[in-house]
Amino acid sequence: MSTFIFVALGVLVVASYMCLYRIGCGPTAPDRTVAIDILGVILVGFCALLSLLTGRDFYMSVAIAWALLSFIGTIALAKYLEGVGFDE
């Protein structure tokens, strides 16, 4: 069981690196915003698997708080993007 959870955490780390690639070389600012949002949702699943691995339940509290903060940050970035022009 522990081996399976380590493999699952490795898969999620690979997915997070794909998001980091899109954050690093996204052509426009909304691409980076999408990647930040997706990275937050993936890390919620990461915290859930950590809670399964260690058997402690405060990791799920960390996941709930992370989901809240990620949502608020994404909404703030989206409202910021509406106001800025994109002059090429």
């Binding site: 069981m1 399976f4 699952a8 898969v11 999620l12 690979v14 997915a15 997070s16 794909m18 998001c19 690639y21 899109r22 426009t28 600012a29 909304p30 691409d31 915003t33 999408v34 990647a35 949002d37 997706i38 949702v41 993936i42 919620v44 699943g45 859930a48 698997l49 809670s51 399964l52 339940d57 799920m60 509290s61 996941a63 709930i64 989901a67 809240l68 949502f71 994404t74 909404i75 970035l77 989206a78 409202k79 910021y80 993007l81 509406e82 106001g83 800025v84 022009g85 994109f86």
Partner: protein
């Protein structure tokens, strides 16, 4: 028995997560990336949380996983909608073999009404 069902659900959720991130890297413009990544990653994370709940039973971890799943299921499409609207107002164009742009068709009527 619950352990095997939980592991199967977690594996399916991991596959959805990885495919959503491959779509985030591979697709051509912001709107296709948004729809591929948001829908499949939301489903994948919800399935991971359901799998954790099935694996551990309805203890503290399982109930918190269910609450977190409901929260992700509500907030992630809302954030995607806000990002799509922000990206359109930001001025990002659609990728070139485009089919339809209903939002641009609806804009002049609103401007005329104002």
């Amino acid at each position: 028995m619950n352990e095997q069902i939980g592991i199967v659900i977690i594996v399916v959720g991991l596959l959805f997560d990885v495919f959503g991130c491959i779509g985030l890297v591979r697709l051509p413009d912001i709107y296709t990336r948004l729809q591929a990544a948001t829908k499949s990653v939301t489903l994948g994370t919800c399935m991971i949380l359901i799998g954790v709940c099935v694996y551990t039973g309805l203890g503290p971890t399982g109930v918190k996983a269910l609450i977190c799943m409901l929260f992700v299921l509500v907030t992630s499409p809302t954030a995607a909608h806000a990002i799509a609207r922000g990206a359109y107002k930001f001025g990002v164009k659609l990728a070139e073999p485009k089919v339809v742009d209903r939002y641009a068709d609806a804009q002049p009527e609103e401007a005329g009404a104002e």
